[in-house]
């Protein structure tokens, strides 16, 4: 089974739960979690050691996905405490996301470029 079909399956499990509010959301979340771990293992083991540093910084940028939760909290402006916590989270997560993707791009460009004098 390919990585993509696994994840589509996982997403379908989640969608199904959303249609039926009485279904256990935790189970759907767990399903997604476990399947995503498998997808992760399948893909990451195929990444060559030469790219392990970009992998770390790139996956690190992806872990900045917490930004989504941070935005929801920061946008909750009618409650100050929540919004302040959210804003702090937005700052930290954005550093992680913007810095992570940019620096990964910088590194990967170095792996790709060819030397002009050859």
């Amino acid at each position: 089974m390919t990585a993509n079909s696994l994840i589509l399956l996982a997403a379908e499990a989640g969608q199904g739960a959303a249609d039926q509010p009485e279904a256990l959301p935790l189970l759907a979340a767990l399903t997604i979690f476990v399947l995503a771990i498998f997808v992760g293992f399948e893909i990451i083991t195929k990444i060559p050691p030469t790219l392990h540093t970009p992998l770390m910084s790139g996956s690190n940028a992806i872990s900045g996905i917490t930004l989504v939760g941070a935005l929801l909290a920061a946008g909750h402006e009618n409650q100050t405490a929540v919004a302040v916590l959210g804003t702090l989270a937005v700052i930290l997560a954005t550093i992680n996301v913007v810095g992570g993707f940019l620096v990964t791009n910088r590194m990967l460009e170095m792996f790709r470029r060819k030397r002009p004098h050859e």
Partner: protein, 471 residues
């Protein structure tokens, strides 16, 4: 299509883009595009979130995005490639910190368990989301403070040169972990878990600091990979708090990635994760002292002598280590490699998995110096070829080429090494005979086919290039 469905579908698109992005990283040719796909996924997820009806004001969001974006962009553009390990550590920490704040904000909301209908996968589950919030708090805080300390160690700030070890530290760590569990149990029974949450974050912060505190030097790749995994798991736990699918998927992808790298690093040192985190690497009884190993058998050499070695050489292998990063010698190394190739010598670079301070550290530095990645050979691929190699040039590496590792009784016994001693001649560029991170002498330096070139890595390369051009 209602807003809820649009957001859910956008999150699905984002998750698929993350997976395709990581898939792109399986080859250097597709890696740049892969990274862009990941960034695109992030953009989709962020834009979808901004149309959420929970978002009632944009002022703070814009403030946060601008501040964070500016800091991130400036750091990413300015940072030197040699500083990559500490930068990754720092970014890891920020991800963990963000997860703590998000989980805290979620607990602080009035009626936190009925929010975010769209991102939720179904009806709320009270206890599970409290447990998830506390997990996010613990993992996030450990990640944040652990990474901050790792950053300080990697930057080699004076105060952090020596780990601060005291008796009973393990007991203290266990106590802190138990305290975390107790706080969670108390929160599950308490009507107001918010205070418990922040107490937990404080305890976990101390724990994160103490966990990373005793670890240093060559064990840093393991720590960084593990913290990388934690930052993903913290995001994942936050996903469970918000019942948000894209957080769970992205978080577990990163968690898996970090765990795999941790495992690879541990294997490359033949040590268990527990041994790296809690054990002490000390010379064993079987390891000889420096005097026994070196006594009168070490041969020092000069740039001119090494240049002559290359006269009849057909194949040379360069073995870089952390010393090359410290000396910023990667460009000089590349120049030397070019010069040798121009003379018809086959040149390859042998990379040990734990060379440097993070997984793939040497590869990035050599890529910066524009060494084609095809010339970088992994340990298993290059080891059989050392017997047919005329000259091996070891630059700032020690433990990863120490033949003592073949003796199971040694402290580093069983650690896979680069078999450089099988080559016809080995030249070791090193500032002194001081031991590597493992603290044991290296019999390679006293071997009959080994010459010691005592110098700073960069200066040695420049001298060698000059000598080769003169000859």
């Amino acid at each position: 299509m209602d807003q809820t469905t649009i957001i859910a579908l956008a999150y699905l698109v984002a998750a698929v883009l993350f997976i395709l992005g990581l898939k792109g990283l399986t080859h250097p040719r597709t890696a740049v595009r892969g990274n862009l796909l990941g960034a695109l996924g992030m953009l989709v997820a962020v834009l979808a979130t901004l149309i959420h009806h929970d978002v009632v004001g944009y002022t703070l969001i814009i403030v946060g995005l601008v501040i964070g974006g500016l800091i991130g962009a400036v750091v990413a553009v300015k940072i030197e490639m040699t500083a990559m390990p500490e930068l990754v550590a720092l970014f890891n920490g920020f991800g963990g910190g963000a997860s703590v704040f998000v989980a805290g904000a979620e607990l602080t909301r009035p009626g936190p368990y009925e929010v975010m209908a769209s991102a939720r996968l179904g009806a709320p589950l009270l206890d599970a989301s409290i447990i998830a919030a506390f997990l996010a708090g613990v993992i996030g805080a450990v990640t944040f403070w652990g990474s901050l300390l790792a950053f300080c160690k990697l930057r080699e700030f004076q105060k952090f040169r020596k780990p601060w070890v005291f008796p009973g530290m393990q007991a203290l760590n266990i106590g802190l972990a138990v305290l975390c569990a107790a706080l969670l149990a108390a929160a599950l029974m308490s009507p107001a878990p918010v205070m418990m949450f922040w107490s937990l974050v404080v305890v976990a912060s101390v724990l994160g600091w103490f966990l990373v505190n005793p670890i240093g030097g060559a064990d840093m790749p393991v720590v960084i990979a593990l913290l990388n995994s934690y930052s993903g798991l913290a995001a994942c736990a936050t996903g469970f708090v918000l019942s948000n699918s894209v957080l769970i998927i992205a978080g577990s992808l990163v968690g898996a990635s970090g765990l795999i790298l941790t495992n690879i690093m541990c294997k490359a040192m033949n040590r268990s994760l527990g041994n790296v985190l809690f054990g002490v690497l000390a010379p064993s009884e079987a390891d000889a002292t420096a005097d026994e190993v070196y006594g009168g058998r070490v041969k020092a050499t000069s740039a001119e002598e090494v240049a002559m070695l290359f006269d009849n050489a057909r194949r040379a292998v360069i073995v870089p280590g952390y010393g090359m990063a410290v000396a910023q010698a990667q460009h000089a190394v590349r120049d030397l490699g070019d010069l040798l190739e121009a003379r018809g010598i086959e040149v390859e670079y042998a990379i040990h998995p734990v060379a440097g301070r993070m997984p793939g550290h040497m590869n990035v530095l050599l890529a910066e110096a524009e060494v084609p990645y095809e010339k970088l050979q992994e340990m298993d691929a290059v080891n059989p070829s050392f017997a047919q190699t005329d000259v091996v040039l070891v630059i700032g590496a020690n433990d990863v080429v120490n033949p003592v590792a073949r003796d199971p009784r040694s402290a580093i016994g069983g650690m896979p090494i680069l078999d450089v001693d099988k080559a016809r001649t080995v030249v070791v560029v090193k500032r002194s005979l001081s031991p590597g991170f493992a603290g044991i002498p290296n019999p390679l330096f006293a071997a009959d086919n080994c010459l010691m070139f005592f110098a700073d890595g960069k200066k040695a390369m420049l001298d060698l290039i000059a000598a080769l051009k003169e000859a």
